[in-house]
């Protein structure tokens, strides 16, 4: 039977683990070099990069510290620094 079916959203209290605790290195963005291209956002597997007030920012709450953003940044504006150094 065809009907106007909208699937229900999952519970907001969803399963999640604290992946931020895995991190050895954390990404630090140098805003002087960054050209706001958004390449880092497209490749972040954890969806930790967002645009706020026309600027890309890294939210570290779930960042696993994989380093893809630093590796893919065309301007090399992202550095991986040891957790706790900065």
């Amino acid at each position: 039977m065809a009907r106007d079916f909208i699937t229900p959203k999952g519970d907001e209290g969803i399963y999640q683990i604290d992946t931020a605790s895995w991190r050895t290195y954390k990404p630090v963005m140098d805003k002087d070099i960054c050209v706001e291209c958004g390449i880092c956002l497209t490749y972040c597997p954890v969806n930790s990069i967002h645009k706020e007030n026309e600027k890309y920012i890294i939210d570290l709450s779930y960042c696993k510290g994989c380093g893809i953003c630093a590796n893919e940044c065309p301007k090399k504006a992202i550095d991986m620094v040891t957790e706790g150094d900065k």
Binding site: P8, D11, Y15, I17, A20, T42, P45, N47, C66
Partner: protein, 297 residues
């Protein structure tokens, strides 16, 4: 809306903290997929990395913000058919399965679903092995790969058979739409996913290349680089088949030698010159077949 805006603005329908490995491109692909498919979607995820990473949920919690079923390895496509029959065509029904669940265990139900032309989307993320259980070989593993079931020693020299060309096998089922995707080419990825969502007259098959840092033995930061290299060397050409029309979406006039990809990871470290040449010949032959299908020699 260009693809970067889309990936930024659309709600992320995957739990923020999944236990996928650092730098896992399959996690990236799943998030991007659900951003495009949207909230009106029902997912089926068979056992594999994405199920193991908690996307199907544990102990009454869900790992996705849309309904998700954990199917069996061998009936994923059949479950899609059932869900589609129950809900009609207003809801997008999609599977996100690994290459083991697609090319080996689940192939009979996938083939039957494609043959019947059900209006569902079947997405395979190809990490070339059963990574979730410790990198056993699958039909989709590249020749020469060291895996836990094809170890390297005095006698064994990695997998002896060539990779099963699953996208082309599925193309021969005449689906409404088929495409190969790579997380390194995100604009192309989003475009194909949007097209897949819009197809309402038959079966859709999508094949995503997904390098595995943990199993293949390379730094997680290089996942996207490896995926890009696979496209540049023609090991994983990007094309689409829209109702029988073949098209190379990222044409590659000057392919790089496959040895460039082989040098990037541990699983190919032992492969001899002859072994690399075997894979190079196979890749060249496959690309010629593809060019013939596209209609350009």
């Amino acid at each position: 809306m260009n693809y970067i805006e889309l990936l930024d603005k659309k709600p992320d329908l995957v739990t923020p903290g999944t236990s996928a490995c650092q730098g896992c491109p399959a996690e990236l692909s799943l998030r991007a997929t659900l951003k495009v498919l949207g909230e009106n979607t029902i997912m089926c995820i068979p056992p594999g990395c994405m199920a193991g990473a908690g996307c199907v949920g544990w102990n009454f919690d869900s790992g996705l913000k849309v309904p998700v079923h954990i199917t069996l390895l061998d009936n994923t496509a059949a479950v899609l058919t059932g869900i589609n029959e129950a809900h009609g065509r207003d809801v997008t029904v999609a599977a996100f399965a690994g290459d083991g669940a697609t090319s080996d265990c689940g192939f009979q139900s996938l083939s039957a679903t494609a043959e019947r032309g059900e209006n569902v989307i079947y997405i395979c993320y190809d990490n070339e092995g059963y990574m979730n259980t410790g990198f056993q070989r699958s039909g989709s593993t590249t020749k020469g790969s060291m895996t836990s079931t094809t170890p390297v020693g005095e006698v064994g020299k990695g997998k002896e058979q060539q990779k099963k060309d699953l996208p082309l096998i599925m193309a021969m089922h005449n689906p409404a739409y088929l495409a190969t995707l790579s997380p390194s080419h995100m604009s192309d990825f989003v475009k194909k996913m949007e097209k897949a969502k819009s197809i309402k007259d038959g079966f859709v098959y999508l094949h995503i290349f997904s390098p595995c840092p943990t199993g293949w033995g390379f730094d997680g930061a290089k996942s996207i680089e490896v995926a890009r290299k696979a496209v540049e060397t023609n090991i994983f050409p990007l094309y689409e088949v829209d109702h029988g029309e073949y098209k190379l979406t990222v044409p590659n006039k000057n392919p790089k030698p496959v040895s460039e990809l082989f040098g990037m990871m541990k699983k190919f470290r032992h492969v001899s010159e002859q072994g690399i040449q075997d894979v190079q010949n196979y890749v060249d032959k496959k690309y010629k077949t593809l060019q013939a299908l596209v209609g350009q020699e």
